[in-house]
Symmetry: C2
Subunit: 111 residues, 2 copies
DNA sequence: CCCGTCCTCAACCCAAGGGTTGACAACCGC
DNA sequence: GCGGTTGTCAACCCTTGGGTTGAGGACGGG
């Protein structure tokens, strides 16, 4: 599971991590702030943040100890690009099928 | 992990399953046809298809034994909706930050 | 300078996931 | 109706993943 897309999808497969992303969309935050609302330990949240970081969804620019976690929204586009590609392809198939059905309908009406 | 969004993200976290989706976007196919290109056993592919089905990404309308697997593209919108929501929110934050910086710039120029 | 706070690393536990083999049910062609 | 093809179920292996506790490292405010 070394490919970037798998990491991103896998990172967002967890509800806690999706919640982290949702909250980080509203602004940067430290690990402590992020961990506060949950009942899990700070260590667990730290792990989650690391997973998000490895997926490129999040960054911590500073080298300080109490550095804020920052959402990297660009990576989200990677997913949307993948998804949209196949959604559109499938949609096109439907349209083509509709066209075929329309032609068939026409042909039955004038033999 | 019972929530739909987690299931969808988790389903697409696997490269093989993403490939299945990609191929199904081009048209329906049976499990056998789907399994052919891979080196894993048919049972493994059958499992993958079941995961996609549980996530709602795929359906098998017929009750026949050799029923074709069909991509349900609508579910992909569920993900895009989630992603876009937070991507835009983050984007807005940037714009607001830019606005603030612009105002600060202006104020320094006319004291 | 030093104490408390904040965070991470390490080791471990248990559940879930992807893979395999083996058996078996259901269908199709004949 | 029978034999081969096609797909799924079941049991099992091993790895990954989320969680915990325990220890320890690095700052920051006094």
């Amino acid at each position: 599971m070394t490919d970037p897309l798998s990491r991103v999808f896998s990172a967002l497969a967890d509800p806690t991590r999706r919640d982290l992303v949702a909250r980080l969309a509203a602004g940067d935050a430290t690990v402590g702030q992020l961990a506060a609302p949950y009942r899990v330990t700070v260590q667990a949240v730290s792990k989650h943040v690391k997973v998000l970081e490895d997926a490129g969804l999040v960054s911590r620019s500073g080298d300080s100890h109490r550095r804020p976690v920052h959402l990297e929204a660009d990576v989200l586009d990677l997913m949307t690009a993948w998804i949209e590609r196949y959604r559109r392809q499938a949609e096109q198939r439907y349209r083509r099928l509709d066209a075929v059905l329309a032609v068939m309908e026409e042909e039955t009406q004038e033999p």
